[in-house]
């Protein structure tokens, strides 16, 4: 079933029209490049606006107004910030491991952008629909931590090193919970391919289909996902009041911006995975807009933003955990609960107790 390859197909056929016979391979690569550029453009800007959203939301939680000087309602604020960061000098420590130090930000940003490829924004708008979609997402999202580790280690700063080590510990632990909670949902869908997971949800979103265990899985996923993105209350990697800026202490200019942008894109990714797996991706509630397929993108982004808002709400309310409590939470609470939940879900699927519309 290859229904959702049509955006790639459209561009491929378009390119094929320009090219003479026998250049299918070129068209194939050309289509990939064009799609990559489109995604890069969209999500670089989307990332910037997520930063703006975060700042605005933070301001509203904190009785402030937020950025409102650059552009109408502050809409160009982050653009201006990005421009500033581009124009800034790139400084670094003298004794840094230069190669790894420069490599680290690209690791983080590239792995963040790669994950975007598999999301089904609408039925057609999916760049890359592989049959191991969820596995791919989990694999990609754990590559980012290598960049953080590299950055923290190579910048030859003790604060950065502590931050990086914390990040390693944290991501390795919470990877488990993210995986297991998604695995719980895979029990219902029976497939790892994202487009088919959406297909299954035409009978009701998975959080409804799976009811109690699905809700538990969702909560665990959100907690672990917040930890994966190193955001408060799990921001030990940066931990402003403890480590200054953590792993990116020694980064400046655009290299810092890559880390910063990657954090927000990762947040979007975590929310997008939750949207796809738990909330029916581009499906509208009760199928009210099924007749207009292009509205799916709006539904998808809308649901994602609600989850992103939830993560922001966490961030601006909760204090930070300590490193040992972070591990306690994972290994003593989330992991056993998750395993229990997996068994529960298996039982429910086996006894066909899922709610189907």
């Amino acid at each position: 079933m290859n229904i959702s390859l049509s955006i790639t197909k459209t561009i491929y056929e378009l390119l094929l029209g320009f090219l003479p016979e026998g250049y299918e391979a070129v068209a194939d690569i050309g289509a990939m490049v064009v799609i990559a550029l489109i995604y890069l453009g969209i999500f670089a800007v989307a990332g910037l606006y997520l930063v703006l959203l975060e700042r605005k939301v933070a301001a509203w939680f904190q009785l402030r107004i937020g950025p409102n000087r650059v552009g109408w309602w502050g809409l160009l604020q982050t653009m201006a910030d990005a421009l500033k960061l581009v124009s800034k000098e790139l400084t670094g420590t003298a004794k840094a491991d230069k190669f790894l130090y420069n490599l680290a930000p690209y690791f983080v940003i590239v792995s963040a952008l790669m994950a975007l490829a598999v999301f089904p924004f609408t039925q057609e708008f999916q760049a890359f629909d592989i049959n191991i979609g969820i596995l791919f997402l989990m694999a990609i999202s754990s590559i980012g931590v290598i960049g953080i580790l590299l950055g923290g280690w190579s910048s030859n700063n003790k604060f950065a090193l502590i931050g990086a080590m914390r990040s390693g510990v944290q991501t390795i632990s919470y990877e488990l919970s993210v995986g297991l909670s998604l695995l719980t949902m895979v029990l219902i869908t029976g497939t790892l391919q994202l487009s088919e997971i959406v297909e299954v949800q035409k009978n009701g979103w998975l959080i409804v289909q799976g009811h109690i265990p699905a809700v538990i899985a969702f909560m665990i996923y959100m907690i672990a996902g917040t930890a994966e993105t190193n955001r408060a209350p799990f921001d030990l990697v940066e931990a402003e009041s403890e480590l200054g800026a953590g792993f990116h202490t020694e980064y400046s200019g655009m290299k810092f911006a890559y880390f910063f942008l990657a954090e927000f894109i990762n947040m979007f990714i975590i929310a997008a995975i939750a949207t796809t797996v738990f909330f029916g991706a581009w499906l509208s509630p009760f199928g009210i807009t099924e007749s207009l397929p292009w509205l799916g993108a709006i539904w998808f982004v809308g649901k994602t933003l609600v989850l992103v808002f939830l993560m922001m709400w966490f961030r601006w309310t909760f204090p930070r955990l300590r490193i040992d409590q972070l591990l306690t939470l994972e290994w003593k609470y989330l992991l056993p609960l998750n395993l229990l939940n997996l068994v529960l879900m298996a039982l429910i699927v086996w006894l066909e107790l899922t709610i189907q519309f």
Binding site: R64, W313, F314, W316
Partner: protein, 158 residues
Amino acid sequence: MSYFGNIAKGIKTLLTGMSVTGKYFLHSRKGAITQQYPDNRETLKMFDRFRGEVVMPHDENNEHTCTGCQKCEIACPNGTIEIIWDRQVDPETGKKKKMIDQHIYHLGMCTMCGLCIEACPTDAILWAQNFENSVYDRSYLTKVLNKPGSKVKAGIED
């Protein structure tokens, strides 16, 4: 089952915290406490006791009430005030009298403690409510409080 009890209790406290911030989020439109400073200059009024900087009021005849007694200069802990004075012949009485030449006020050294104004027996110096004291050069912070050509009001003795 204290294990699950603890989880439930923990989640409840987290939700309580979120309800507090959530409430402010919903009321953020009118609840914002930000003062958009340069924009609200017209409405921003300091309290009348606000200590902005020391000024010497002059009346319409360009007369002040400073007799040059130097009490403010002595009271000041930081050497903010310097008074340059000499004895001149008072044109009305014909006697020699202490008169100020320049009442110099170094705003850059002032800690706004208010001791000079308390010390002044003739209320010649007062607090102004101006708070926008930033300048591009430190030397602008040294001010001469008495206006050029001003003289002390008749009948003011220390």
